[in-house]
């Protein structure tokens, strides 16, 4: 019985923590939020230098050839420090899709460049102000030519490539696009966490390459986000822990009515509830990490369980951290709002809480839990 990370993985996590601390990732998040930029290119370059973008990429393509567990511990630290980099878009989604679904030519072309940072990827799915589904995708991919518009695409500005969920006569497919191609127009869309820019991408007769089978795009997308959900969940528990720690520290230092506010049960019980939610989420993440790393048949329910509990934990920890800080928590100056924003970003990228609850129940129906 060993539902825990190995010593090597824990060491990697410690190193990641030290690196992000030293690089002041949290202050960098604030800078990106406060300026016109939509990602921290310098921090990203340093992350590339550490080899993190190539963790899962096989050695034959220049990567480290490690497993998903190594990615989980890195994700937890990126989440803790709110790193303003396109890691989730490029690594959990784009890179994983290329590794799993790309043909040899595409892999040979892109994987080494994802390791070196020459290529950064993202995933474009949403088209309207509602959840995308197999039946409402409209961007067309007739004859390897894309037409239509995607919105709310994270990190599209810093990205060089995108996978696009699109539709042709044969069904839904995943199309690979070089974002510097003629006919691509990328526009910034104001969003609620500007430390990670979101963009619209218009495709006007843009040449694309098919990834995976032509009519199985939606199923490939579902499989992809079932896996990525585990990594997103790790970012979410990292952020939840940071928000909880911030609330605990404040509750010990802030005095009201002659004593620390953390000595009042109203605050204690709030923080205990945050700890409970986080502990449930964290334990579910461990199991999902195991399921991901062993490609278990349990993955759909395990990842949805981790995702639902991690989303709930981060939502609770980030909002109650603000509440614990009182008026200070509502200021721009305090960091509370940065966790609040990021918790919403992470809970919406790859789909909302209620839709993940639905996915969980569907997976229970399919596996017949009784």
């Amino acid at each position: 019985m060993n539902l825990d990370f190995s010593d090597d993985q824990k060491f990697l996590q410690e190193e990641a923590k030290k690196f992000l601390e030293k690089e002041k990732a949290l202050s960098r998040n604030r800078s990106v939020l406060e300026t016109e930029s939509h990602a921290d290119q310098e921090l990203w370059n340093k992350i590339v230098d550490l080899g993190w973008t190539g963790i899962r990429i096989p050695e034959e393509y220049g990567g480290l050839g490690l497993g998903h567990l190594e990615l989980c511990v890195i994700a937890e630290e990126l989440g803790r420090y709110l790193a303003p980099v396109p890691f989730s878009s490029s690594v959990y989604l784009f890179t994983e899709a290329i590794i799993n679904y790309g043909n040899e030519e595409i892999k040979k072309d892109l994987l080494p460049k994802l390791v070196t940072g020459e290529v950064i990827g993202t995933l474009a799915v949403t088209e309207e102000l509602y959840a995308p589904s197999k039946s409402n995708i409209k961007v067309s991919s007739k004859n390897n030519t894309l037409n239509g518009k995607k919105i709310a695409v994270p990190d599209a500005e810093i990205a060089t490539h995108s996978l696009v969920v699109s539709k042709s006569d044969k069904g839904v497919s995943l199309q690979l696009v070089d974002l510097s191609s003629p006919g691509v127009t990328i526009k910034h869309q104001e969003n609620i966490d500007e430390s990670r820019g979101h963009f619209s991408i218009e495709f006007d007769g843009v040449k694309s390459d098919l990834v995976g089978d032509e009519n199985s795009g939606w199923e490939l997308y579902e499989t992809l986000i079932n896996q990525a959900a585990v990594l997103f969940s790790y970012e979410q528990i990292g952020g939840s822990q940071a928000a909880l720690d911030m609330a605990i520290n404040y509750a010990k230092e802030r005095y009201a009515f002659g004593r620390p506010i953390g000595s009042y049960q109203a605050i204690k019980h709030k923080l205990a509830d945050m700890y409970v939610a986080l502990t449930l989420a964290k334990s579910n993440c461990y199991y999902a990490a195991w399921a991901l790393s062993t490609d278990s048949a349990d993955l759909p329910s395990a990842s949805a369980t981790a995702r639902v509990s991690a989303t709930k934990a981060y939502q609770l920890c980030s909002q109650e951290n603000i509440q614990t800080h009182g008026g200070n928590g509502f200021t721009w100056e305090y960091d509370c709002h940065m966790y609040y924003r990021r918790s919403k970003l992470l809970s919406l990228n790859i789909g909302s809480l209620s839709n993940w609850r639905e996915k969980l129940v569907i997976s229970l129906e399919q596996s017949n839990i009784n």
């Binding site: 060993n2 539902l3 605990i248 204690k268 839990i369």
Partner: protein, 406 residues
């Protein structure tokens, strides 16, 4: 990451399972009553405990001389996991073995340990815990039952309450106040007592479930020899804490109707012409309960992983009762409400019974062994490191502490 036993653990598990297969049968899924007021049930439980004792499984982590085999924490867990798969009586000895045993082990004389521990492990003698009082629940150190020393004896007067199994117990551990002029936590002394002593009267408490697992225990001029004192005079609280720590380890999952039951029920139950499982609110609730249930299960696996490595587990397991008792209450509500107006009725249907039992029993689970509120205080203070509340009961004689009308 893996879920495999080490070779040594696998060997031990096989040994447990082989013995259990020879001596018991696997559970068949039907739920059985554990009503020990019924003499046959009590005798069955005692017979099973004796069988385990003779084979060395009764208290496997205890030293050999007191009836154990000196097993590790991991081996205890493996045994418990395996035993849980079999249809065997349980529950009745938990307080004695889980809470009274460790205190006797730490504070009783060698002679007393040899006399009492093996017969406790064997199930021949049953023990109970006499701590709570009418005015001392969450604040158990507020207890007022009196002990007055008289030569080599103590005379006890007062009342205990919420004593599980007092009506069939042979011995009990008891904490009482020997001096109300001392500060609250300094004026208590700890004993063990023969429950057949003259002056002890046990009255069952009828619970909201209609059952009676608890008792009031009245003490009128009960004599206890000084040799049955555990710890020094005035050390009663220190000794009690040893027990309470063990209680917190022992009180775990609330049991009863769970998410699998709610799910199966929702698939089959009609709701406005369609299965209840088609209802969005039902689906969201089931998803959340499944996350709680899995979270507790996986937390347990993390604790076991630490034990398996020989490490001390983290504080994660402190969330178990808060989460499971609340979930039990919500699932009880869900099941009953799914019957709409007919939910009022008692029926013979096993599922409906289990939802009604969950609903009626859960309020007790949210209180017993540390209320939701006390457990949140413990998490906040001991795990998160938040400061204690200022207290009105420190630095004054017990008799001068404000106590309202109670």
């Amino acid at each position: 990451m893996d879920f495999n036993d080490t070779p040594q653990e696998a060997k031990f598990r096989k040994k447990c399972r082989d013995w259990l297969e020879k001596n018991a049968s696997y559970k068949d899924g039907s739920s059985k009553s554990e009503d020990f007021a019924n003499k046959d049930k009590l005798n069955d439980a005692k017979a099973w405990q004796k069988k385990k004792y003779d084979a060395g499984w009764a208290m496997l982590h205890w030293p050999k001389e007191y009836g154990g085999i000196g097993a590790s924490s991991m081996e205890r867990i493996i045994w418990a996991n395996e035993e849980a798969k079999f249809d065997v009586p349980k529950g009745i000895f938990e307080i004695g073995l889980g809470m009274c045993g460790p205190v006797m082990m730490e504070y009783a004389s060698e002679e007393q340990k040899e006399r009492y521990l093996p017969s406790m492990a064997e199930g021949k003698e049953i023990w109970c815990q006499l701590f709570s009082e009418p005015s001392a629940g969450s604040d158990v150190a507020g207890l007022r039952s009196k002990a007055v020393q008289n030569g080599d004896k103590w005379i006890i007067n007062g009342q205990k309450v919420w004593t599980s199994g007092a009506h069939f117990s042979d011995y009990g551990i008891l904490v009482v106040r020997h001096d109300p002029n001392l500060e609250k936590h300094k004026g208590m002394t700890f004993f063990f007592v023969d429950m057949k002593s003259p002056g002890i009267e046990v009255k069952p408490i009828k619970q909201i479930t209609g059952g009676s697992s608890f008792n009031e225990v009245y003490f009128t001029d009960v004599e206890i020899p000084d040799s049955q004192r555990l710890g020094e005079i005035g050390d009663g609280w220190k000794v009690a804490i040893t027990t309470l720590m063990n209680e917190r380890l022992a009180v775990g999952d609330a049991g009863g109707a769970d998410v699998e039951d709610a799910f199966r029920w929702a698939k089959n139950q009609d709701n406005l012409g369609e299965p209840l499982l088609n209802n969005k609110a039902a689906r969201e609730s089931i998803a959340d309960w499944y996350c709680e249930k899995s979270g507790l299960k996986n937390t347990k696996l993390r604790t076991m992983s630490a034990l398996s490595r020989g490490d001390t587990p983290g504080p994660e397991a402190s969330i178990t009762k808060i989460v499971s008792a609340g979930k039990l209450q919500n699932i009880g509500n869900f099941g009953i409400d799914s019957l709409d107006m007919a939910g009022m009725l008692k029926t013979d249907d096993a599922d409906i019974k289990s939802f009604q039992n969950a609903w009626l029993g859960a309020p007790g689970m949210r209180i017993a062994g540390g209320t939701d509120e006390i457990l949140r205080n413990i998490i906040a203070e001991r795990v998160l490191g938040l400061p204690q509340d200022p207290r009105a009961d420190k630095g004054v004689a017990f008799k001068d502490i404000p106590s309202g009308n109670s």
